[in-house]
Symmetry: C2
Subunit: 195 residues, 2 copies
């Protein structure tokens, strides 16, 4: 996630968004300037403005990627068919995988608090994702597959809190993304103690 | 956690730290200025400097409170005596309670990344707390009370990730701190599915 100087190459809006989101994830969106983005891209600020209207446009594209990837999970067959508990397992595992695959985008998404129009819309889409998953937990409770003594909304927040925390400590290294996603599911559904 | 204007009263260093940490939690430490702190306290910036050398000194006091409270948990009898699994349960529950009780301080602690000397020292103390807990998980695995297929360090990160996430969404309201701390323990140890 370090914002190293990239080798010069013709940028397009997508590759510029890649660079910008890495910079935002590292310095915080508010703390990052277009100068920082230009430096990380190894091009002038003027060349960036050739592709994009400004910092918020880059943020908007990054948040769009993050949220589109999260919502795409809900359209996967395993998220739509079968018992609620199995759909839930699939969603929790895929959310963890997507978080690790789009680490800069999700890092930025998890840290925004609705300071601008793009941020407010992203926060609203995130809430709607959480509500959808909360509904599946409620259904799994009705089907007897999730403990009824847990508040479904609280459970959703805690499980995604666990999964989202990877953006704070994950560095490419010893543990694979799959191993981490598997551990998230395993802890959330079975817990730490043996059965 | 909103930084409202407080009624005028004689401030001391502790009550100023209270106000400053609420401001830092709300605006981010980097985004918050001493003017913001003065405004939230309803006094002049000069009066603040009468008590404290600057913003970093307020941060240092706030981080000290957070870390002292976390380490104090490890000295509680229930964290020191008995089987590893029971000590672990106690620690996880108390960490969640302390996080909710000192919400601004812990919010700031969880968001810093080692930009200054105070921040680096706090990050180092936090890592040493995590290592201590990881060791207890390893011991509980040896005693057969925690599944051996879980990586102990990963489990510690995910469980505290879940617990720490309360700073992102908790607002005083419907759920009590005790109910939230109980749900954290329940999910971490027993998981969401019935036994």
């Amino acid at each position: 996630m370090s914002a190293q100087v990239e080798p010069r190459k013709p940028y397009d809006i997508d590759s510029l968004t890649d660079v910008a989101l890495r910079v935002f994830a590292e310095r915080g969106y508010d703390g990052a300037s277009m100068d920082d983005v230009a430096r990380a891209a190894g091009i002038t600020k003027a060349s960036i403005y050739h592709h994009v209207s400004g910092k918020e446009a880059l943020l908007e594209r990054g948040l769009g990627r993050a949220l589109d990837a999260l919502f795409a999970i809900l359209d996967e067959p395993a998220a739509r068919e079968g018992r609620a508990i199995e759909r839930l397992r699939h969603i929790v595992e895929r959310v963890a995988e997507v978080t690790l695959r789009l680490l800069p985008e999700l890092t930025v998404l998890f840290r925004i608090h609705g300071a601008s129009k793009s941020e407010r819309e992203a926060v609203e889409r995130r809430r709607s994702f959480d509500r959808y998953v909360t509904e599946i937990i409620v259904q799994a409770q009705r089907e007897g597959d999730v403990r009824r003594d847990l508040d479904a909304r609280l459970a959703a927040r805690l499980i995604f809190g666990m999964s989202n925390s990877v953006v704070e400590w994950y560095r490419a290294g010893s543990l694979t993304r799959e191993a981490i996603a598997h551990a998230v599911v395993s802890l959330a559904f079975e817990g730490m103690t043996p059965r």
